[in-house]
C-alpha cells in the first residue's frame, strides 16, 4: 500500500528528535484522525539551519514528517513557507488517497513553526 520511499522514510526517518535551543516550534494535530506532530527549527539569517520532528502517527505521517524536514533543511523561511503537503506527498512517490491528510500534518506543523518564528522576530 505504501511506496518504497515511504517505507524508507518510515524505517529510517531523518531528523527525528528535539532541538533544546530551537528558535521556533510548530505543533499540530490532525482533525481527521487525532494524530499529532511537533517540529523544531533552528534558524540563522532567515535560513533553516537545523530541523527536528516528533510524530505520533501512522506510517504515512512519520514518513511525511521525515521527508518534509529533508526538503526544507537549508532553505530560507520564505522558501520553506511555499512547501505544501502535495509537494511532500509527491516527493514520497505518492500516498494512498485516504492517507493524503497525513502529509497535511507535516505541512501544517511547518506553517505553525514559521508563524512562531515570525512572531518571535517581531517581538524580539
Amino acid at each position: 500500500m505504501y511506496s518504497e520511499k515511504v517505507m524508507d522514510h518510515f524505517t529510517n526517518p531523518r531528523n527525528v528528535g528535539e532541538l533544546p535551543d530551537a528558535d521556533a516550534i510548530g505543533e499540530t494535530g490532525s482533525f481527521k484522525c487525532g494524530d499529532t506532530m511537533k517540529l523544531y527549527l533552528k534558524v540563522k539569517n532567515d535560513r533553516i539551519e537545523d530541523i527536528k520532528f516528533q510524530t505520533f502517527g501512522c506510517g504515512a505521517a512519520i514518513a511525511s514528517s521525515s521527508m518534509l524536514t529533508e526538503m526544507v533543511k537549508g532553505r530560507t523561511i520564505d522558501e520553506a513557507a511555499r512547501v505544501t503537503n502535495h509537494d511532500v506527498a509527491d516527493k514520497l512517490g505518492g500516498l494512498p488517497p485516504l492517507k493524503l491528510h497525513c502529509s497535511n500534518l507535516a505541512a501544517d506543523a511547518l506553517q505553525n513553526a514559521i508563524v512562531d518564528y515570525k512572531s518571535k522576530q517581531h517581538s524580539g
Binding site: 481527521k32 484522525c33 511537533k38 510524530t55 505520533f56 504515512a60 505521517a61
Partner: protein, 387 residues
C-alpha cells in the same frame, strides 16, 4: 532479509488445513455433479453434502434440518436479521450491541432506514453486555435480539446463555454471531438458548466464502433471494459443494480438538499478554479471562497502531489493528470506543490472534521484536516526551 513468517491474524482468517484441502479436492474435478440432479453423480454429491450437514449439526448439538449453508458469516447474519424483519407485516424493534461486527451493525442501520427501531446496548469496560440491560431494553414489538458470542477485535466472550434465556423467556427470537467462537470453544445451541447462530468456515481452518446458519426448527423467516429450492429455499442457488465439504471436515476436526487447542492457545495467549504488558505502559483491551483462547489485544500508549503493524510486518509478523489509521475509516474502531478507550489509547491498539500452528517460539520471537519496535516509535513520539 526477513524470511520468517509469524502469522498472528487468525481472527481475520486462517489457512485451510491439509486434511481439509485433501478432503475437498475430489469435489472440483471428479465429484462435480449437481446435488439436485437425479442421476448417480448428482446423488453421490448430495450424499456428501448431507454428511457435511450432519457433521455441522453435530458440532453444534443441532439437528441436520436446522443447518443452512451460506456464503459465510456476513451472509448468515444478513439472512437471519433481514429475513426475520422481512417476515413481519410492519416494522418493529430490534436489540443488538454496540460492539457487533459490521455484518450485524450495518444490517441494523439499514433496517432502521426501512422503519424498524434498533437499540444498540452499551457494554462494560471489557465489552460485555449486561443481561439486565437487555431485559430493560425489551419493548412490546421487539422481534429480534442479536448479540455476538465473542468479539472479533478484543475477544470478549458474551454471556450468551444468560442473554438467550432473557430472549427465550419473552418469546423473542435470539441470534448470535458466533463466527469467532465456533471451532475455538464448545458451542451447543440448546445450552445457549439461541434460535439463530452464524458461523464461517475460514475462521477454523476451512475454506473462505462458505458458512452456515443454524435456525431452530419451527422458525420461519423470509429468504433474501429467490430461486431454486436449495437449502430449503432459504438460500437458493447451486450449492458451493467443495466449500460445504470443506466446512464439514474443518468443523469436525476443529471441534474434536477444542480441549487440547484451547489449553495450548490460552497458554500462548497469556504468555504473550504478560510479555507485552511487561514492556510498560501497555494495556490489555478486553477481559483477562472471559476472552477467546487466541485473542490478544493491547494498546501501546504514545504510539499509533499502524506504525506498530508496519514495523511488525517488516519483521515478518502479521497482526492487525483497530486503530483509525490502519482501517479504511479514520475513526478508531467502534468497539474500542464502546469500551471507553480515549482517542490515543484506541489509536495504539494492536490485535494478535493466535491459532493452529502458532508455537512457543513464535511468542518468543514476537516479544523479542516488539520491545525495540515500541521503543523506537516512542522515541519519535511527542506525546511520549511530554508525558
Amino acid at each position: 532479509m526477513q524470511s520468517r513468517l509469524v502469522y498472528m491474524d487468525h481472527g481475520a482468517t486462517t489457512p485451510v488445513r491439509k486434511e481439509v484441502f485433501d478432503y475437498m479436492a475430489p469435489y472440483f474435478q471428479e465429484q462435480y455433479g449437481n446435488p439436485s440432479s437425479l442421476h448417480a453423480p448428482g446423488r453421490e454429491v448430495r450424499q456428501a453434502v448431507e454428511e457435511s450437514r450432519e457433521k455441522t449439526a453435530s458440532a453444534l448439538g443441532a439437528k441436520e434440518d436446522e443447518i443452512y449453508f451460506t456464503a459465510g458469516g456476513t451472509e448468515s447474519n444478513n439472512i437471519a436479521l433481514r429475513g426475520a424483519a422481512k417476515k413481519r407485516a410492519k416494522p418493529g424493534h430490534i436489540i443488538t450491541s454496540s460492539v457487533e461486527h459490521h455484518a450485524v451493525l450495518d444490517v441494523c442501520k439499514e433496517l432502521e432506514n426501512e422503519g424498524h427501531r434498533v437499540t444498540y446496548l452499551p457494554v462494560d469496560q471489557y465489552g460485555r453486555v449486561d443481561p439486565e440491560s437487555l431485559k430493560e431494553a425489551i419493548e412490546d414489538d421487539t422481534f429480534m435480539i442479536s448479540i455476538m458470542a465473542a468479539n472479533n477485535e478484543i475477544g470478549t466472550l458474551q454471556p450468551v446463555r444468560e442473554l438467550g434465556a432473557v430472549a427465550r423467556d419473552k418469546g423473542i427470537l435470539f441470534h448470535t454471531d458466533a463466527v469467532q467462537v465456533v471451532g475455538q470453544l464448545p458451542v451447543n445451541v440448546a445450552d445457549l438458548n439461541v434460535d439463530f447462530l452464524s458461523l464461517s468456515a475460514h475462521k477454523f481452518n476451512g475454506p473462505k466464502g462458505i458458512g452456515a446458519l443454524y435456525m431452530r426448527k419451527g422458525i420461519k423467516i423470509d429468504p433474501l433471494y429467490r430461486g431454486g429450492s436449495q437449502e430449503r429455499k432459504l438460500r437458493p442457488g447451486t450449492e458451493n459443494v467443495p466449500g460445504i465439504i470443506g466446512l464439514g471436515k474443518a468443523i469436525e476436526l476443529a471441534v474434536s480438538e477444542i480441549p487440547e487447542k484451547k489449553k495450548k492457545l490460552e497458554h500462548l495467549r497469556d504468555r504473550l499478554i504478560k510479555g507485552l504488558l511487561d514492556i510498560g505502559e501497555v494495556y490489555l483491551n478486553g477481559h483477562h479471562k472471559e476472552r477467546l483462547p487466541g485473542n490478544v489485544n493491547v494498546s501501546f500508549q504514545y504510539i499509533e497502531g499502524e506504525s506498530v503493524l508496519l514495523s511488525l510486518d517488516m519483521e515478518g509478523i502479521a497482526a492487525s489493528s483497530g486503530s483509525a489509521c490502519s482501517s479504511g475509516s479514520l475513526e478508531p474502531s467502534h468497539v474500542l470506543s464502546a469500551i471507553g478507550l480515549d482517542h490515543s489509547m484506541a489509536h495504539g491498539s494492536v490485535r494478535f490472534s493466535l491459532g493452529y500452528g502458532n508455537t512457543e517460539e513464535d511468542i518468543d520471537y514476537v516479544l523479542e521484536k516488539a520491545s525495540p519496535i515500541v521503543e523506537r516509535l516512542r522515541s519519535m513520539s511527542p506525546t511520549y516526551h511530554a508525558r
